[in-house]
Structure formats: C-alpha cells, structure tokens
Amino acid sequence: MAASPAPAATGRRVAIVTPWYPTRETPFQGAFVQAMVEATAPGCDEVTLYHLNLWHMRASARRQRSIAAAHRGLLPHALRRTGTVGGAGLVYLPVPAQAGTSFAGLARLTEHWLRTALGGPLDTPVVHAHVGYGAGWAALRAAGPGTRVFVTEHATFLDRVLAEPDARAMYDELIDRCAGFFTVGDAARAELVREFPHHADRIGVIANPVPFDRVRPRPVTRLHRWLFVGGLIPRKRVDLLVEAFARCRAEEPALTLTIAGEGESAPGLARRAAALGVAEAVTFTGAVPPPEALDLMYSHDLLVHPSRRETFGMTVVEALAAGMPVLVTRSGGPEETLAGLEEAAGELIDVRDDPDSIVEGYRRLRDRFPDGVDVVTARRRLAQRYGYQAVARAHHRIWFADPTE
C-alpha cells in the first residue's frame, strides 16, 4: 500500500468521504469508491480518503455513552493517516452506532465523528462524498466555507431512507446546498428526480470507473464455467441462479458454478445446491477482495447476475472488461451500461421470480455463442464510457472547473 504524498501547495487537493470502502470485514463493500479513487487520485496534487466505517453495537444507553466518551479519548492516539490506491491517503474512522439507528441518526452520528476527528473543518477546495444520507450529510456539515462539496449516490435502498421524514428533509437540504449531486445511472437519477422534482436540474449522472488495463490471454470459447460475484442477499436472488444452474447442468454436465460473496442467503444456497444434487459443481468462495474477484473473472466463462435492482451494476462491466460475456437481469443499471451493446455483451433477461428466465436466457445465449456475441467490441465501447481515463476526466472537470465560469 503506497503512502500518500506530502500536501502540495497547489490547489488540486481533494477529500473523499465515504461510509463504504473494502475492508477485511466487508471486502466487496465500496469497491466502486476504491476504483474511483484509483482512477482520479493520480490527476490531483493530494487526495485523502476518509472512510467512516459504521461499527454496529448493541448496548444500553449508559454503555453507549461510555463507548462514545472512550472513542473521543482514543481518537488523538488511534486515528492515523495511511495510504490506499492511486497514491491517496486513507484515514480510517470507526463510527460506533447502535443497531437499529435510523438513517437520520446514522447521518448525524457520522457527522459528529467526522467533525470530532478533524477537530476543525474539512478545508480542501473539493470534497467528494459517496452515499448521500451518511457521508454526504457529514461532508456538507464538516466542510469549510471555501470548500465545494460534491456527492455521488450509490445506495439501492434510497426508498427506505426517504421514507423517514427526518432523513428526507436532510437529503433535500443536501441536494440543495452541495455544489453537485450525482447518481451513477439514469434510472437512479429518475428515481431521485421523482422524489425531489424541484432539484431536477441539480442532479446529474457520473459513472463508476472500471479498470480495462488487463487483457484476457485467450478468449472465452464455451460457456461452461459460470460465475456470480456479489453479496448473497435476497435482492440478488442467487437462489434462482442455483435453481437455474441445476436445470442447465442436467442438460450439460460440464457446467460449474462459482459463487463469490457472502451474506445471509449463503447457508440456504449451499443446502439447496445439495438438495438439487449439484453440490459438487458449485463452489462457494466466501467473500473475496476486489482484486481476487477480478482474477475469478479471468478464469470463468460467463457472469450470471440475477439481481432485482442495481444502480450501476459494476460487476457486469468488470466482467466484460475481463472479456467474459454476461447473462444479466434488466435491473436498472445494467440496461443503461449495456445500452446498444445488449447482443454483443451477452443476454439481458427480465426480472422475474422464477428460474425460467435464467434458463431460457442461457439457452438463447448458448445457441448463438460465440458467433452471435462480440465481447471485444462491447469491451472497447465500455472502456470509452467507463474506463479510468474517461471517468477521471469527468471528475476532474467538475472538481477543478472555475465555478465562476
């Protein structure tokens, strides 16, 4: 891990504030923020990432006060600046939070601990926060008078956040006061504009960056090795994938499935794979850090992504960057990222509550593979949209443009 450079005298200094960033506890969480830092930091004089990591607890009110007091006393001794990707600095700040705290409460807690840790305002010319309700709010409130705050929303559960009156009011204020507010796709933007029509002209779109620097040594020639990468949570519907896989494998015994990720659905998935008689063909890797997830993409043939809802669907773009076709649901982000490339990239299927759509989608893809698929073209076009250079340019343009122009 590289240490961050010394503060520079020039003005391209940026603070990035995020609740999500890959850690040992949650290796997948915030991989897109890590990619954004890696893409954008090299074009700046100094970038410092503040990772405001929620540490959940269940404690009595008295114990919570004791923990908060201890945290305050420990901060001057335990808070450190280390390094992360792209030569950026990293400040890892735990935010102790009682389980069940409301979204508004979490936002206030995050603000409180960021301000306490800083001991003064965030004074970089630019602050970019990821996820509005927590880090966005904290960054806005902690920023100094000369700082412009930008926010990118990634959350797929915004409806739950905005269902809380307090959180909704804070969110409204955040969009109103920040220098620029972005979502990672048009579908997510449309959802926000529906909620806050008076802010329609303030909400833009900025994509997540995806690395395209590595080239697959040999192209995929058959679709035998299936891969899923992501959280094993109900929204991802990996249960449907396991069902569909078992049916497809009955026709093609050479098929295998690797499931990389973890979550509450994991035990049930393993049991179901065993009950369907495909346990020996299904590998559960558990959670893996982003570099290992990328490695998996180079050693598999087909990414299957049956999620119900994605704001961007970074895994899908990463798979194509790794030269593998995709079988993916029209879950929001993917039909935007793959617009105009649907056939070249693989197969898009409808979001349905049965495994049939996955099975039928696979059969259609298999029947026209490889001639009816053009991963090379899809990859090239996606690199132009989502490659590090393209997304870094977009960030640098908004960060360093003269606001008076």
Binding site: M1, A3, S4, T23, R24, E25, W55, H56, M57, R58, A59, S60, R63, S66, I67, A69, A70, H71, G73, L74, L75, P76, H77, A78, L79, R80, R81, T82, G83, G89, V91, Y92, L93, P94, P96, A99, A117, L118, G119, E264, P267, G268, R271
Partner: protein, 180 residues
Amino acid sequence: MRVIFLAYGATRRRTVVEEAAEVVAGGGRAVVLIEWPALWRGARFAPGVEVVNVYGDRWALPRAVVDATLFRFPAFVLGHLARGPFARTAARVDRGYRNRLARPLLDGVVLPAYRWLGRAARERVYRRQLLDGERADLVVIGDPASMPEALSVLAGYGDGVAPQLSYRMDLTVRRVVRGG
C-alpha cells in the same frame, strides 16, 4: 512485533481473526483478548494466535448455563426445524432471535454483571498482557465494546510510553492525523 487485539464485543470477528493471522504469518506474536468465548464459536484462529478470555475460568458454570439457555438450546431446536420447506423460515427466526433477544440479553444483562464481578480478574489479565510482561508494540481496538477498555489501557501507562493504538492493523502507519 507483539500485537494485542481487544475484541470484547466480537462484532468484527473476521477482521480480528485475519489480522491476528497476518501478525503471526509475519513472524510476530498476536494475543486476542476476548470476553465471552461462545461468541467466537466457529472462528478459526491461525495456529500461534493466543486467545485469552479476560475472566479466565471464573464462573465457568454460570457461563455454560447462560450459553446453553441463550444460544445452544435454541440453535439445537432451530437446527432441527431448519429442514425442507421450513429452512428459510427457521433461518430467519434464528437470525431474529439472536439479534433481537439473545445478544441484547447477553450485552445488556449478563456481560455488565460479569464486568462488574470480574473487574479484578480482568485487571490482572491486562497487567500481565500489557504492563508487566513483554512489551506490546501495537494495541488494536477491535470493536466498540473494546473502546472503554482501550482507554483504560492507555490510562494504565500514565506518563510512560504506551504502545501504539490503532483501529486496525496497518503496517503502513504514517502519522497521527491530529497534530501530525
């Protein structure tokens, strides 16, 4: 390098297990201080990692009774129900039971009692691990429940040179943010 992990809350188990393994793999010594062994059931510490219960063997019988009542018996029952069509429901009930009943009871009633009754024993473990014996190079604060204990550790050094404190293992530590 000798690293002490304060991991009383057991809420960030994977991090503690992996970081302790990394210390040992790097030729260092890792000591993990825990408060309630049952919360670490299933955690696979690397060989060489020393796991120390701060209450030692004290009140082992009441602890076993609490474990059986709060965790083992319900897990046994739900494990038998978690078959066939009931698997998903049983898993949901198990999660809800653990999060909404068992853990709050343990955290809100049992552990405070142990902390009060066992403060002398805990103090002895601190002294042995942190003050009297071989010097600790780094103390890692593993979860919120360990924060008050970490502050006590710091206070225990008084004007002496305390080991470095950190919220996680990170060998690329550069400087303290405030006043740095």
